[in-house]
């Protein structure tokens, strides 16, 4: 029996990298969105420019489950290299759409899968002369065919093509023709629509569809970042590039062409963080964007920024590690290396956005926190959030909001004779005052160094002042605890002894897993961490539950280690659930793990009644 489902299925495109499929696939995805049906698309791509296999999947989710689901109900198999594996991955009762210009033996197909064969190459060879056109329009032809098969309103697709090629109007007509070609051919060739299909809805609302790297970069623009130094590395490159694009539009003087920002593509990640530290020291809001290998290279400077107390913002778009690892796959495996970056005793502030919407918010907030705390602040994105487009609440900004520049002693303060000790804790919160170079002709100058010094920034190797300073830094970390975004509590419908802690891109899958479990009678309280260090609510949540799962996308349960270290909880109380194969975590996976490991906790009251 072929799968029957309206607005709830997964379609996967198997393509060859560099064949121009990405824009056609995006066109397909956005058409569904324009029909008011939520989607969660994901790229699965290789570290390659041209030739290797790449996949794009679109989860159509009328219920708004935005995490990855796993499996595929329909496969658009455009890559002969992976054909057999792609067919094998289709769910029973699913659909296979493929290019039948070259005949495929029936033995390679599956009896439990509906086969939809269209000779795309032949159609395009007849229609177009240039080889590149044949290749590019083949993608649009299959989008047309899918519109017919899945009941997507073809005028919606046409309108999007018009918007996409606005300004390159010559391209509109041939694209529309290719779309129609596929649409009409499919109508003739197949019985349309299929059992899986799209029906117009209004479930998208005012939400936006955007990549996390774009959102984080826009957050940096709104947060007042003026200096960006970076070194190209997947998957963070598009963050720096989005900052540049946005600044070019939003921060360039229309008359003079002067730029209210400076971007340096550095020679390596060490220089990138060095530029950020120098700019932060000199009073500009500065950041770098990088990934795991860059974080490894930046360690020494991060220790300097911590010890010399220089506002620094690092966007870490995490990928599969260690070493070069899986550069185009997602993980949450830089938690510990960032939380304790550098040699010596260090502790850092991490922000953990769940989606592009929060990447924007935290992207701006990071600069306030870095200035307020005078320390590095890490915004922990990952490849899934950063490089995939997600549906999320629209960006918002309160125009009355002011930048929090923290404790900066001004010319007037110095002129009035206020006592200035660069490392003097005046307010009891561990955060000292700083001066910006050039502030006053004769007062407030000090020497910044990575060596030990006293409260007035004078070099010393004596134990007393060193300990005094290190303990003040701990006090400052406790101050950070109160300033960072608090964890978000999602209470189960029924009282439960099971809790689950999660963070970042696990969010979408977790929301769905909690629903699935509740439907099976397993109720779970969920706590989404939004920052490190942890606020009091995290310890309270753990104490209030008998079994607490910590769900993460790394091998070593890094956040669990951090919870144990920071809160001193009993390790036995925290059970790790770990997904680290490089693909985004799914609700199916979380549901299975929790269901299997929570017996005995799931329905305690019912069991007592039986006995």
């Amino acid at each position: 029996m072929p799968i029957q489902s309206v607005n709830d299925f997964v379609i996967r495109f198997a393509n060859v990298n560099g064949s121009g499929s990405a824009s056609a696939n995006l066109l397909f995805a956005r058409s569904i969105l324009r029909m008011g049906v939520p989607i969660a698309p994901r790229n699965i791509f290789p570290s390659n420019i041209q030739g290797l296999p790449t996949w794009y999947e679109v989860r159509v989710t009328g219920d708004g489950h935005l995490g990855a689901r796993g499996g595929a109900d329909m496969m658009v198999a455009m890559n002969p290299q992976t054909f057999e594996k792609d067919i094998a991955s289709i769910e029973p009762g699913g659909y296979l759409f493929y290019d039948s210009s070259r005949p495929i033996p029936a033995t390679k197909l599956r009896a439990d899968v509906t086969t939809l064969a269209m000779p795309l190459t032949d159609i395009c060879a007849k229609e177009y002369r240039e080889p590149r056109q044949r290749q590019l329009f083949k993608n649009i032809v299959y989008v047309g065919a899918l519109a017919a098969l899945l009941d997507i309103e073809v005028d919606v697709v046409e309108k999007l093509i018009g918007e996409q090629f606005k300004g390159k109007d010559k391209l509109i007509a041939p694209n529309l023709r290719a779309l129609r070609l596929g649409y009409e051919d499919a109508k003739r060739r197949f019985e349309c629509p299929l059992g899986i299909r799209i029906r117009r809805s209004d479930a998208v609302g005012g939400r936006i569809f955007v990549e996390g790297n774009f959102a984080a970069a826009l957050g940096a623009v709104y947060g007042g970042a003026t200096v960006c130094a970076w070194y190209p590395i997947t998957p963070s490159t598009s963050l720096a590039e989005a900052f540049e694009r946005n600044c070019a539009r939003l921060r360039t003087d229309r008359q003079t062409g002067e730029k209210r920002y400076a971007i340096v593509q550095a020679e390596d990640e060490i220089a990138a963080i060095g530029v950020v530290v120098g700019a932060g020291w000199n009073g500009a809001r500065a950041f770098t964007a990088t990934s795991g290998p860059g974080i490894s290279l930046m360690q020494e400077f991060l220790g300097l920024a911590y010890f010399a107390e220089i506002p620094t913002v690092v966007f870490d778009v995490q990928r599969g590690g260690p070493s070069t690892g899986m550069p185009t796959r997602t993980q949450q495996s830089d938690i510990l290396v960032c939380a304790f970056a550098s040699h010596g005793d260090t502790k850092h502030v991490l922000l953990l956005p769940e989606d592009p919407g929060e990447a924007f918010d935290f992207g701006a907030l990071a600069f306030d926190l870095a200035d307020r705390l005078q320390t590095p602040v890490f915004v922990m994105l990952d490849l899934d959030i950063g490089m995939n487009s997600h549906l999320c609440a629209p960006f918002r900004w309160d125009d009355s909001r002011k930048f929090d520049r923290g404790k900066v002693m001004t010319f007037e303060d110095l002129e009035a004779g206020r006592d200035f000790g660069r490392y003097l804790d005046v307010d009891g919160d561990g955060v000292p005052y700083r001066t910006i170079p050039g502030a006053h002709p004769t007062r407030g100058a000090f020497f910044t160094r990575g060596t030990s010094r006293d409260r007035y920034a004078k070099y010393t190797e004596e134990g007393g002042p060193y300990v005094d300073n290190m303990e003040r830094l701990l006090k400052k970390y406790d101050t950070a605890r109160k300033l960072v975004p608090h964890a978000e509590f999602h209470r189960a419908a029924k009282a439960t002894r099971i809790g689950v802690i999660y963070y970042g891109s696990t969010s979408g899958a977790m929301d769905e897993a909690v629903e699935l479990l509740a439907a099976e009678g397993v109720h779970v309280d969920a706590l989404r961490l939004r920052a490190v260090p942890f606020g009091a609510e995290v310890g309270e949540f753990i104490a209030a539950h008998e079994q607490v799962f910590v769900v993460e996308q790394n091998r070593d349960a890094q956040m669990r280690t951090l919870l144990i270290a920071d809160l001193g909880v009993d390790p036995a109380q925290l059970a790790p659930i770990l997904h680290f194969d490089g693909s985004p975590i799914t609700a199916r996976f979380i549901r299975r793990e929790i269901a299997a490991r929570s017996r005995g906790f799931a329905a305690p009251l019912a069991r007592e009644t039986v006995s």
């Binding site: 020679e267 530290v277 020291w281």
Partner: protein
């Protein structure tokens, strides 16, 4: 106690510069380097240059890496903000500081270990980006704080204090700077303050990457017979290309020079330098000639000093990036935050 402040006592009759500052106002803490260290002479030249140029001390930022040379910013310009960063990374920190506030003057002090070994990459990229700075390398050919290892600027065949020959080829930082796009390149000797001080002044007036390689003998580990970075060796083998008198809008200082061998150059900022040609007929406008003169004398075991190359039409990093005239660190919400209306338009484009 390892921080030794100097007493603030001022004699009322002490001479002051155009800003009313005494020479003392440009000094720093007492040096903790070895007695007789060449680096202290360089600090003195920098202090003297800043005093004579009447630079407001608080408008100078002094940055360094790690090593003996990188300690020296503590011993000068006590009213300037300083930053002793990490080993070999002064150029990137200074680049960031410079981007944040284009209105300050930036002095980077480094050594041969800090620049020619661990920091060679950052040195190279700061030069090629045209960061507006004075980059001084206090070059002694040896690692002092770790007690006497060869550095990458040690000449092949130069002997260590323990009598070991250096087998590797030396890095000529001045030649590299020319090649990498520095627009002011000079070399001097810590023992020749008369040559060094005007070079430092001219470097401060230059808008762009100004590099000075100062041979600065290490009295503790590299001042012996057989070393090519000792006081005696450098004195004997010094080939001064020219002598520079820095005038800077004031009446020329009277100096003796032979008729027909001097040249007065007006710089873009209105200051003037006068160059007296000495040992070689060197055209300091010519990059190829700069490299050739360094190579020629290197082959003879001689040390070329003086102004090696100057391109006064330099365009610095800010000009290349077209950054706003107002320093980036002084911009506020109105200039930086596009506001909710712009955000609504962005939201609309993402639907």
């Amino acid at each position: 106690m390892t921080f030794l402040p100097k007493p603030k006592f001022h004699h009322p009759a002490l001479q002051v510069n155009a800003l009313g500052f005494t020479h003392r106002d440009y000094e720093g803490a007492i040096s903790t380097l070895c007695a007789g260290c060449g680096h202290d002479s360089i600090s003195a030249a920098i202090i003297h240059a800043c005093y004579e140029l009447s630079l407001p001390p608080h408008r100078i930022a002094k940055l360094s890496g790690i090593g003996c040379s990188s300690k020296t910013p503590t011993y000068m310009l006590g009213q300037s903000h300083g930053f002793n960063s990490v080993h070999g990374r002064m150029p990137s920190v200074l680049t960031g500081a410079n981007l944040a506030n284009r209105d300050l003057l930036y002095l980077g002090v480094s050594g041969d270990g800090d620049t020619a070994s661990i920091g060679l990459g950052q040195f190279a990229h700061a030069m090629r980006r045209g960061v507006d700075m004075v980059y001084i390398v206090e070059n002694n050919g040896v690692y002092g704080l770790t007690k006497g290892q060869f550095s990458a600027t040690s000449d092949k065949g130069s002997k260590s204090k323990k009598g070991v020959d250096n087998l590797d080829s030396p890095i000529d930082l001045a030649a590299m700077a020319v090649q990498l796009g520095a627009t002011f390149v000079a070399r001097s000797f810590s023992g020749d303050k008369a040559q060094l001080t005007p070079l430092v002044k001219a470097a401060f007036e230059h808008r762009g990457a100004a590099f000075i390689d100062v041979i600065s003998p290490c009295v503790a580990f590299n001042n012996h017979e057989g070393s090519t970075k000792s006081f005696d060796y450098v004195r004997e083998h010094n080939i001064a290309l020219n002598r520079l008198d820095f005038i800077s809008g004031r009446p020329p200082i009277e100096v003796d020079y032979e008729e027909g061998t001097s040249e007065t150059v007006a710089l873009h900022d209105g200051s003037t330098i006068r160059l007296r040609k000495l040992a070689a007929d060197h055209d300091w406008r010519d990059r190829a000639a700069a490299l050739a003169v360094l190579e020629k004398h290197r082959a003879d075991g001689e040390v070329v000093t003086g102004l090696i190359y100057l391109n006064d039409d330099a365009i610095d990093l800010h000009a290349r990036l077209r950054t706003a005239k107002k320093p980036l660190n002084s911009l506020g919400e109105a200039e930086l935050c596009p506001g909710s209306k712009a955000l609504e338009a962005i939201n609309a484009g993402l639907r």
